[in-house]
């Protein structure tokens, strides 16, 4: 079923909407959650919470990009669940990914008056200027928290190629943010 049809079902308050969402996006949401939570039970719970959140948000929200909409909800709920469950259950991949990014641009280098949202927009601008493969490798690593080996398999690359691609993209991101006046 097309995304627009699923959204229409939500607007009609038809519970079939959740079944269709599960059919189309259940696996993706589970992967997003499981990458962070590393627990099948917690991830399943998080997926169900995601459906509930989508049910509550639509209507009135009418997302233009349903894939990103549902992924963002699943990711945010997973991050919240991690905070709740304390740091002891953090996913190793997520820690590694975040610390790599933080090493590239630590907090004390970022202009204090810039908001997270504004910084997110600048990063988006940078990513749009990158080649498609480098952009998606970066997103798979730092947004979806895929491991290097998973990215290598997904895109038929060697692990060392993925690592060096990430290393160079991080450096270009830092240079870009420096030019934009974000890195002080």
């Amino acid at each position: 079923m097309e995304d627009l049809q699923i959204i229409d079902l939500y607007f009609a308050r038809d519970e079939q909407a959740i079944r269709e969402t599960d059919h189309k996006y259940g696996k993706l949401c589970f992967l997003v959650a499981n990458r962070l939570l590393c627990s099948n039970e917690d991830s399943k719970e998080c997926v169900n919470d995601t459906y509930l959140a989508v049910w509550n948000k639509i209507p009135p929200t009418r997302p233009t990009n349903f894939t990103a909409f549902i992924c963002k909800i699943a990711r945010n709920l997973s991050l919240k669940k991690l905070e709740f469950a304390n740091a002891a259950k953090r996913s190793a991949d997520a820690i590694l990914s975040l610390s790599e990014l933080e090493a590239t641009l630590p907090d004390n280098c970022i202009a204090p008056d810039i908001t997270d949202e504004e910084l997110g927009k600048r990063i988006s601008t940078f990513l749009w200027s990158e080649k498609e493969l480098a952009r998606n490798v970066f997103l798979r690593k730092y947004w979806f928290f895929d491991s290097v080996s998973e990215i290598a398999v997904r895109y038929s690359l060697s692990e060392s190629h993925v690592k060096s691609m990430l290393f160079r993209t991080r450096n270009r991101l830092r240079e870009f943010l420096k030019k934009e006046g974000v890195d002080v």
Partner: protein, 261 residues
């Protein structure tokens, strides 16, 4: 979760970028094009080597030196130190590297495992997080190329900060269920005692720099720049099969586990 500003900012990136990453599939080129290009390149290389003299000690052939730790087997091999230098000109922190040094060295002793304690609040029984830095003593026999201010001397022993592991320890049922989460590795180089290597090294800028007052060298991020000398009997063993690599890997893993018992 103690997330930094940049990590939080990642939550606000464009929707289209995210859905693009979900849907993106790398287009597969026709394999015959790849093979034809490879054959053409190979012919050119062979032709070039036949008609041009080998100029000096800074030129060597790729098959004389095997790459260590390259299970995928598809990394291009630089054919000169200049090329090697061009490919590896950044420090791990991204700065341009004026300190690089290319040395011929041997592994002169067993690796020193260092277990970094888990983060505060992560001492839950059966679950443990930490990073194992392994420092390997290497003796520099010859300095083949030196950038500025290296301060390294021939016939001296230094510690090489490779490999290091990221470790997640959990209860055994958890292992059984998620076997892939047993151990995470980064930049693992199975340098072996008594073997001779040519390595591109940098001075380490990490916290191990102060380890017992030793100078710590690093190949961090530059695994392609470690070569085992092909003239050694053991070179074939290192490059030709994966078994010794994985044997070392698991052997080291076992010793790490011993530490935690």
């Amino acid at each position: 979760l103690n997330t930094s500003k940049i990590a939080k900012a990642m939550e606000h990136i464009d929707d289209d970028l995210i859905s693009g990453a979900v849907k993106y599939q790398r287009s597969k080129k026709n394999s015959w094009i790849k093979w034809a290009a490879t054959a053409a390149c190979l012919s050119l290389v062979i032709l070039g080597m036949l008609i041009s003299p080998l100029n000096g000690r800074y030129y060597y052939t790729p098959w004389k030196y095997g790459i260590v730790n390259n299970p995928s087997g598809n990394r291009l091999v630089p054919r000169s130190f200049e090329e090697l230098e061009n490919w590896t000109r950044y420090l791990p922190n991204g700065e341009e590297n004026p300190y690089g040094v290319i040395v011929e060295c041997t592994v002169s002793g067993p690796s020193i495992n260092r277990i970094v304690e888990p983060y505060p609040g992560e001492e839950e029984p059966g679950k443990l997080y930490g990073i194992n830095h392994v420092l390997t003593p290497i003796r520099i026999k010859r300095i083949l190329y030196a950038g500025e201010k290296t301060g390294l001397k021939e016939n001296e022993t230094y510690l090489l900060r490779e490999p290091y592991f990221y470790i997640v320890k959990s209860a055994w049922p958890y292992y059984n269920e998620h076997s892939e989460n047993k151990i995470y590795t980064w930049e693992y180089t199975p340098l072996q005692r008594g073997y001779r290597y040519i390595a591109y090294l940098t001075l380490s800028t990490s916290e191990e720099s102060a380890y017992e007052g030793n100078t710590i060298l690093s190949t961090n991020g530059f695994q392609e720049a470690v070569y085992c000398l092909g003239s050694e009997r053991t070179a074939k063993r290192v490059t030709g099969t994966l078994a010794p690599i994985y044997w070392n890997y698991w052997s080291l893993w076992e010793s790490v586990m011993e530490h935690y018992k």
